[in-house]
Amino acid sequence: MRWLRALRPILESLSAIIVGLIVGSILMVFFKYQPLKAYAALFKGAFGSTGDILETLAFSVPIMLTAITFALGVRTGLFNIGAEGQMYLGAIGAVAVAGLLHLPPVIHVLAATLAGMVAGALWSVIPALLKVWRGVHEVISTIMFNWIAYHFSIYLAIYFLAQPGRAERTVPALPTARYPVLVEGSTLTAVIFVAWAFCLFVYFYLWGTRAGYELRLVGENPHAARYAGASAKKAILISFLLGGVAAGLAGASQIIGRPPAWSLYATLGNVSSLGFDGIGVALIGRNHPLGGILAAILYGALAHGGRYMEYQAGVDSEMVRAINGIIIVALSIPELWAIIKRSIKR
């Protein structure tokens, strides 16, 4: 049975997803939709053609990064749900550099990416300091910062970054600041390699460096960490800042790495909720940066297929987000796997 134990995290995540889909179908039946038709459309939409698979991958980019924000928090013993706001600011930072500055080709992309990362990190500084200095719970501080970021970003988008003559969105990223589209006609760009590289970097940081080890130790066993001389304050600060960098990159990826808009809608419509999606992705991926990549592809499939589901079965594509919520609830139950195993045996 050893192979079963090794597979257990994957099986647990999969069973949570199945629970989510089942509860989702019950809700659909309740409101007189046809769940089988909806799910058939969803999976066809997600994997039906090569183009769809590329779209699914494009959808996975921002959420694997916002998943890192949450996962880093969990690894440090924090419940950091501030990715949403940090992502907005990351998008704003990327728009400002990509749309307003004129720089040589390669440098422009790098500068815009960096601007997004820095803006995201800056937005995480105050919640981090409040946590370290005053012990303000991060659930409250990060959510308040998300809402402040929401209004602040719309303000910046409309007052300083608006495209003349088109009030509904900001100036687009200049061609020099755009990641190249990988396959003509898809929205998948080279930014996915940056996202993967970032996930790998976080993996090596957490499991390959002393600072990463201390960060995990603080999360797993604060008492042992104190004995080992690891500073909890430093770990919390790093966790927040690196999480902010990840979320900022997620926001930037939607501006300089996602056609056709190449800009931020003034309603933040093309980035909103991607930060919260990351929470589910992180949990499905077991709060591991590499697990997050796989989980993001799964959730990216749901998100992309959801649009086809809305078109075919009339079910609002936001239903996918509700299913994500159910998956999170299912994953919060440590005995879910035991409960399922018991009921199978019976």
Partner: protein
């Protein structure tokens, strides 16, 4: 009542009085701000008092935002179903109680990680509410319902006050009495502090926790249904706008004391009422972009929590599942 609590309440009354005086000098209408404050504080009080009680018993539910969202939509649905605003409020209470019951059951019997489960409820609501709007009214945007379904406010000497606001204030008083003056209250506190001792003393820890979680959900549901039916007159997917988390901030500020939570909700409600008043004041609205006005409640929440935190003590077993060994 401890000295510190009395100090806080007196300080809040004085600050509020000065603030209203200052507002009158500045040319805003204090009565309309007071009315707006009462409206804005109502969902906060209801959600926060319920949360105080279930956290005292050991169940931490951070899914308040999700409950507010879902019950605001289903409250309107219920009101249209029954043709009556009060019917809608009751429907909201029922749905809130069901979500609270679910939260209680998975926390107690399935030993769920409560913070994760609560966040799951929030994210579920984020997607479920647009789904509901489209499923019920076939339109994803704002839904306005007939004015006749509104729960009408009562005229009082200090402005028009909604009956639900009075219920909310009464809930805070009754919640405080329940926790500190009744046997059930002592049992609730025992379940949060020392579940094993409570168990030995013959208290059913599981039932108390499920009961308080259900009660907390029901109160939150009343707050959620109140938002469209007593206040806004319509429902959108962003209707609660973080109020569930502001209610959590009230709970943290109050250290789980319902009366202090009422005071905190008054502060935050005032911040929101003040923001509305500023947003519509001629001379101000042209200078300050209303995006900054919208930030006032969130900034106030952060400031108050940052200043007030530190002296609070929370039940030893709050948020932890209890099982007999």
């Amino acid at each position: 009542m401890s000295q510190q609590r009395i100090f806080w309440i007196i300080a809040i009354i004085i600050i509020a009085g000065l603030a209203f005086y200052g507002i009158e000098i500045a040319g805003l209408k204090p009565l309309s701000i007071l009315e707006a404050t009462f409206l804005a504080m109502t969902p906060l009080v209801l959600a926060a008092v319920g949360e105080c009680i279930n956290e005292k018993a050991g169940v931490v539910n951070i899914g308040l935002e999700g409950i507010l969202l879902i019950t605001s939509v289903l409250g309107v649905y219920g009101a249209e179903l029954f043709g009556n605003g009060w019917g809608g409020l009751l429907f909201g209470v029922l749905i809130g109680a069901l979500i609270g019951l679910f939260m209680g059951l998975i926390s107690v019997y399935a030993k769920a990680a409560q913070v994760v489960a609560g966040m799951g409820i929030n994210i579920f609501a984020l997607g479920f509410v647009p789904f509901l709007l489209r499923a019920i009214w076939a339109f994803p945007g704002i839904h306005l319902f007939p004015r006749t379904l509104m729960v009408q406010p009562l005229p009082t000497p200090i402005g028009r006050i909604n009956p639900v606001t009075i219920i909310a204030i009464a809930t805070a008083v009754l919640g405080s009495l329940l926790l500190h003056r009744t046997v059930l209250g002592f049992r609730i506190k025992a379940c949060g502090e020392r579940p094993e001792a409570a168990d030995v003393a013959g208290i059913r820890v599981d039932l108390i926790r499920v009961f308080t979680a259900t009660l907390g959900g029901a109160l939150c549901g009343l707050g959620g249904a109140f938002m469209p039916l007593g206040w806004f007159g319509g429902v959108v997917k962003e209707i609660s706008a973080g109020r569930g988390f502001i209610a959590l901030a009230c709970v943290v500020f109050a250290g789980l004391e319902p009366l202090l939570a009422l005071a905190a909700a008054f502060i935050f409600g005032f911040a929101e009422g003040f923001a509305y008043a500023v947003a519509i004041t001629p001379g101000v609205k042209e200078v300050i972009p209303f995006y900054f006005v919208h930030m006032i409640p969130y900034v106030t929440t952060l400031l108050v929590v940052t200043i007030a935190i530190g002296q609070r003590r929370f039940p030893a077993a709050s948020g932890l599942p209890y099982s007999r060994e």
